[in-house]
Amino acid sequence: MQFSLNGRNIAAEPGETVLSVARKNGVFIPTLCHHDAVSPSGACRLCVVQVSSGERSRIVSSCLYAPSENDRVETDTERVRKVRRMVLELLLARCPTVELIRDLARAYGIQRSRFTDGAGPSEERCVLCGLCVRVCDEVVGRHAISHAKRGIQRKITTAFDTQADECIGCGACVRICPTGALHYEDLPEQKQPERVMVELHTRVPLVRCSDCGRAFASPALFEHVSKSVNVPPTTLAACPACRSKSFAATAAQNPPSAPAFARAHARTYQSQLLASINEESS
């Protein structure tokens, strides 16, 4: 399948998106609501490109659009830049304190938004990209959070704005959020240590590391990880720091061969992400 990308003839797999082809070929397209770990959504409209076939030309989001044979795709025309500039100016008006938005806006020559005059300073950090919702649903498989309401009232929340029993406190939503709109706080000193998902009305109990005694993850997370990577929950009882210490000790005594090591640690993307989340919380 051949199409032209900024004037270059490029081959693409059928069904492959413009964004994916562009990245492989070193063409930069800015994105906000896109992440390789989750399905594309087309919500932020920052990755728009101009597609021409025959006489007609239109603007599509590159994260969703799979080019057809002989399409001419341009990633940085004035028409494209106009849309991106306006998207960023609108987002800057919504989230003036978010560094990422300010940087992106500056990159497109926007220092301040014309839409904010007279308005008080906004503390809003969420751009409603929905990555947290998708990672929770598609990667973690819990679907603990979702979008609620519509239009400008749209928000990310749990069902009925209350404790989400589906939440396992993995923190994937917090990690994937590009604007720092979501947080959690651990309360390890409590009699029953807890993780508080600050914006999501949810508290998850934590258990202590079998070695060092630090409160680090929830029983629900153990269960979830043990099922999805097929390891007994007991191997997860130690916190990642303690686990790597003991692994290092074993490996020093009995170094595995490289292929066996690779086999033993070949993991799905899902388990890698979950592991990195565990790492993060240490």
Binding site: G42, A43, V48, V87, R150, R154
Partner: protein, 635 residues
């Protein structure tokens, strides 16, 4: 049960005979518009007196005949004489009406039009009511062909509305109903049906105007384990109610259209997605589906053709954006009604990921008569690119408002001036808003343009589903754009940035202009924002959301400038930019203004000229309405 085309014809003929044979029938227009006008009470009163006095009239309900300005409407069929339409009926009229009807006479005071025969469009049959000599009483009533609201209309979609009883399958059949389905299923191959629709030139009546036959063909050719057809009855444009009236007045026409479409496409299940805010439409549709199932017109082996088809009703929960087809599909699936990017189009991957064909109510309703009368007949009506007729809901400042159906290519002027009767209270025409909130306005200079998809689009408006709002010199175009943006801001699903944030900021900017806080740079900002929203939005709601602003800015920029540069609202509508003043010479000091003023801003001594304290005044206008001497003016 109707199992063969022969049984359908037998059923048709027996009901037809019953329908036109000498019974005195009284019909009350009981669609939502009629009920709002008080038809419910009227209906009860007629039934009660009919029983009490043993008149023996056959009393039933019917849908809306389109003349909403005449509601409530009552039709009386006088045997051998004709069908007489009475307008603006009140319960106090009933006694006289029934008494005169019993004597074979006409209640002339309220009679507005009469029909001496019915034209049954489906099989092109003219069945006369009139037998013998026309009575002098009846003769005084103008025939439908001379009634100004009706004479320029051509009724295809509204063929049965206001004439048959929408709760009676028999009457639909008597008027030629299900003959199209019988013909398609027993005489035509699916490809022939698609070919017929393609040749007819029928295009989507929901607004897009995509050729219906091509849409069906794409869906038929797509790979999938199952296929679906959907009727989009999520009509949500403010001031538009064509689809509601068709469902309320002629629900079986949609079922029949869907049977034909499903047969052509190869679907076995259809959905009618109707908004919950139309309770009567939901009720009528549900009843019609039950009747069709009971009669064997839905279900297995329809007309003995081996084709199975069922219809389910899915109710919308009140989101305008669910009229967008990908949002609608998400909603039927039980998800939140948020659109997704197309392609893939629903014809490739729609409901439950299967090939799906979505058409609007009016499109489905046109299908049966195209099959019975043929593509040649249908395509002889209209313009080269737009065939057939289109129903519009003509509302706003026109004298005669209601549903009108005209051939494509009719000039806008004809619709507004001849059918609509021009502007109320001798006002001056200013603009016609078409296409709903995503459409645009057309100024007087373009009023001679024909109604078709291309012309309206080239004027910066669109056909849309058929809303037509007449505006006169008392309408402020900035305020009008603000009104539509307020609607769209509420209805944006919020998924994509240009629509969610853009409609908010556009509304804020328009509000600033209306409230006297407009700045010259706002005009460029509106233009830039419009362009980015049109290009960058995910679905058609956001893509067309700037249309009210774009078209008013294009045709009425000087009005925006007056608001911004002179702090003046030329139409004298924007409250922050007007003042109520007393004309001292005309004021008699009667005190009417002071009595009605809710904030005590109008004051004065008895028999002395009054004054208005503009600091207190909320610009509600009650004083000006109350003044009999036109002594209060808006400046």
């Amino acid at each position: 049960m109707i199992k063969t085309p022969q049984e359908l014809i037998a059923a048709r003929d027996s009901v037809r005979e019953h329908f036109f044979n000498g019974w005195t029938r009284i019909r009350v227009g009981m669609a939502t518009c009629g009920l709002a006008g008080g038809a419910g009470k009227l209906f009860e009163a007629i039934r009660e007196q009919n029983e009490k006095n043993n008149y023996g009239f056959f009393v039933a309900e019917t849908g809306c005949n389109g003349a909403c300005f005449l509601e409530p409407l009552v039709d009386v069929v006088l045997p051998g004489q004709g069908r007489i339409t009475y307008a603006n009926m009140k319960p106090s009229d009933i006694e006289n009406l029934l008494l005169l009807t019993f004597g074979g006479r006409v209640y002339t005071k309220k009679a507005v039009a009469r029909a001496t025969s019915e034209h049954l469009l489906s099989d092109d049959t003219e069945i006369p009511y009139l037998q013998g000599v026309i009575q002098p009483d009846v003769q005084k009533v103008p025939p439908y062909s001379e009634a100004p609201f009706f004479k320029n209309q051509v009724r295809i979609a509204l063929r049965n509305c206001g004439i048959i009883d929408p709760t009676s399958l028999d009457e639909y059949i008597a008027f030629g109903g299900y003959a199209g389905a019988a013909k398609a299923l027993t005489q035509l191959q699916p490809e022939d049906v698609i070919d017929e629709i393609k040749r007819s030139g029928l295009r989507g009546r929901g607004g897009g105007g995509f050729p219906t036959g091509r849409k069906w063909e794409a869906c038929r050719k797509a790979n999938g384990a199952a296929r679906f057809v959907i009727c989009n009855a999520d009509e949500g444009d403010p001031g538009a109610y064509m689809d509601r009236s068709i469902i309320e007045g002629d629900p079986h026409s949609i079922i029949e259209g869907m049977i034909i479409g499903a047969y052509a496409i190869g679907a076995r299940i259809g959905y009618v997605y109707v908004r919950e805010e139309y309770p009567l439409a939901v009720k009528r549709m549900r009843l019609a589906v039950q009747q069709a199932e009971a009669a064997g017109l839905l279900g297995e082996n329809i007309f003995g053709s081996g084709f199975d088809f069922r219809i389910r009703i899915s109710r919308g929960a009140g989101a305008f954006v669910c009229g967008e087809e990908t949002g609608l599909i998400a909603s039927i699936e039980g998800n939140a009604g948020t659109p997704r990017q197309r392609p893939p189009y629903p014809a490739q991957s729609g409901l439950w990921g299967m090939p799906t064909n979505i058409n609007n109510v009016e499109t489905w309703n046109n299908v049966p008569v195209i099959i019975t009368r043929g593509a040649g007949w249908f395509s002889s009506i209209g313009t080269p690119s737009s065939k057939g007729t289109k129903v519009f809901s003509l509302v706003g400042k026109a004298k005669r408002v209601g549903l009108v159906e005209v051939p494509m290519g009719t000039s806008l002027r004809e619709v507004v001036e001849q059918i609509g009767g021009g502007i109320q209270d001798g006002g001056e025409f200013k603009a016609l808003q078409t296409g709903g909130p995503s459409g645009g306005c057309i100024p007087a200079a373009h009023l001679d343009c024909p109604v078709d998809y291309e012309t309206l689009t080239s004027l910066g408006s669109m056909m849309g589903s058929g809303g037509m709002i007449v505006m006169d010199s008392r309408t402020c175009m900035v305020e009008m754009a603000r009104y539509f943006l307020a609607f769209l801001k509420e209805e944006s699903c919020g998924k994509c940035v240009p629509c969610r944030e853009g409609t908010l900021r556009m509304l804020e900017t328009l509000s600033a202009i209306c409230e006297g806080r407009g700045r010259p740079e706002h005009l460029d900002l509106l233009k830039e924002l419009s362009e980015a929203m049109a290009d960058g939005s995910l679905c058609a709601l956001g893509g067309s959301a700037p249309n009210p602003v774009r078209s008013t800015l294009h045709f009425f920029e000087e009005e925006y400038r007056a608001h911004i540069e002179e702090r003046r609202c030329p139409a004298r509508v924007c409250k922050a930019l007007i003042e109520y003043q007393v004309v001292r010479e005309s004021c008699t000091g009667c005190g009417a203004c002071a009595r009605v003023c809710p904030v005590k801003a109008a004051f004065g001594k008895k028999k002395a000229p009054h004054e208005i304290n503009n600091g207190l005044c909320t610009r509600c206008g009650l004083c000006a309405d109350a003044c009999k001497f036109k002594a209060i003016k808006v400046a």
